[in-house]
Symmetry: C2
């Protein structure tokens, strides 16, 4: 009998298969089938909605905790869809025995991140399950935003567009991994977990065609999805990928590819070539975008193909994440 | 060190203390502090929102499963707040190893309940945690509705109003309990799990002042909340409480008070005395309201006091649920 596997939640290939074979089969409708991280409410096109559950382990890590993450993750899904995040719901599933002090820390972080992003928590729910029936705390947040005149989406991507990222990649993935495995780096890696809405307000111009936050599955999986949806190829250059020295050495040591590591405070931005300089400058003017960089180009070619030009000048195919890289990364 | 207890999720007194000592302390704002099951979005008063997580065990029971419950629960929170439910998000947390067939059944039930209620699932999220880190499946649904001119809320409740319920009480609680404990009744008890929006469309008239769905904590806890918010007393009559024979005998056998048992397809409706006959007749004309009944009256008296006149003519105080009656009932 077929069973759910960890990789069904990876954000990679098996996740997509589950969505198509089960969720689209029974629940399918034009809004759900867009498979975007946020949707416009049909017939009420001024409101955008996004939902996300957070099951990260450990709960506390360098640069944040599950509470901060739960706010940032949902805000970012709305912000990259072109909406202005305004409201959020907060639903907690608690394991009996969770330390009240830990819960208090987490709720404080929710409040801090909500204030930083300028959103209001409008309703909530709390359930408690017996010891052993959950792992400490799971959080669901649903975000609601106002739709702006920022028309972004994969359908706008064209050959010739440039691919930008708002900063270094893989920080969240390595921060969680090192917390779990007790790895020590000379400069400890902090998760990049942050709300992106104000950064996006800073750099957005009409030449911005599409934005995504490369969380589970990383830059590689997100670009594969976009290339497929837009029917284009993409070419990345390895030498252009912004990496912190600690993430770089951790990846080398552990044999990990930073393109597949999760980010929780970065946006991938596809922009018309003529607007790329301006957008990049504006990104770099914001504290969260100092390390922003061009990392590649959109090209004609096989739809859905993502290639990486390596340091040595060769090209290799960058596929979607297969299996589960790091379970419970968000 | 203080720890989270099951009763913090009961919907009773400890739940309320947690909300006040932690959630209102850090996240408090006028919308959240209303402690209603659904809120109007500030500055956008045409949209109402509600969120709920479902952690019920067992997943499958007579009359429904966690998927149907997750849709009905959120629709009902919106409908009793006077909104017309329109959209829903669906977020799943799956335990590695969950049978794919069970997941398919649940998703099918989500689709069936959504169709019955006439709502659209607009976005979703799936996370998978390791075997042992969750109990099979938890579901969060966030519902979004349009606000109507149905002005309902505890602030409208006044002495002299009548208290109606749309049908028998305690069915969901007994259905889950008998499933868990393997109890057999001559007529098996089915959960009343159902979407209430169309029933409410049938009976609503402007004389309806307040509606609530008495889920966790039952009729007793819900009426305590309302009596407190409205600053009134309430008097119930035991002989008027509609009970199915099986629930009645189960409660007697097990020493349970049906006033504290969960319902998942019932509305408590406070209505102006002069409109009570009309509302009751309209309720009874709908398949989900056949057993609707008057159960008591709103009175002047100590704010927050709920009394029950027993079969023997005495009166006893009906307090809020203390501790946890039946964990994971929804």
């Amino acid at each position: 009998m077929e069973r759910v596997m960890l990789a069904h939640g990876s954000g990679g290939r098996l996740s997509h298969e589950l969505i198509i074979s089960l969720f689209q089969k029974y629940l399918g409708n034009p809004h759900l089938n867009q498979m975007n991280d946020a949707v416009l409410l049909p017939g009420h096109e001024k409101v955008a909605v996004s939902t996300d559950s957070f099951v990260i382990s450990p709960l506390f890590f360098r640069g944040g905790n599950i509470g901060k993450l739960a706010v940032c993750g949902t805000i970012n899904d709305l912000a990259v869809s072109g909406a202005i995040p305004k409201f959020m719901t907060l639903a907690l599933i608690l394991e009996e025995g969770l330390l009240m002090d830990d819960l208090e820390q987490i709720v404080k972080s929710v409040a801090g991140a909500a204030a930083e992003a300028g959103i209001t928590i409008v309703c909530g729910d709390t359930k408690v399950v017996e010891n052993g029936s959950a792992d400490k705390i799971f959080i669901n947040t649903t975000g609601i935003g106002y739709v702006t005149d920022r028309f972004v989406g994969p359908e706008r991507i064209q050959p010739g567009d440039e691919i930008l990222i708002t900063g270094t990649i893989g920080d969240h993935g390595i921060a969680i991994l090192s917390e779990r495995e007790g790895l020590e780096f000379q400069t400890p890696v902090r998760s990049d977990c942050a709300p992106l809405n104000k950064l996006i307000d800073t750099f957005y111009v009409p030449g911005v065609k599409c934005m995504r936050d490369p969380t589970r599955g990383g830059v590689a999986t997100t670009l594969n999805e976009l290339a497929l949806q837009a029917g284009v190829s993409m070419l990345l250059k390895e030498e252009l990928l912004p990496l912190s020295p600690s993430v770089d050495s951790a990846c080398e040591m552990l044999g990990l590819d930073p393109l597949y590591l999760a980010n929780e405070g970065k946006a991938l931005v596809i922009v018309a070539a003529e607007a790329a300089d301006e957008v990049l400058m504006k990104m770099q003017s914001h504290p969260l975008g100092k390390k922003a960089a061009r990392i590649g180009k959109v090209e004609e070619g096989k739809p859905g193909l993502v290639l990486l030009e390596t340091f040595l000048g060769g090209k290799r195919i960058v596929g979607m994440l297969e299996g589960e890289h790091l379970p419970r990364i968000c």
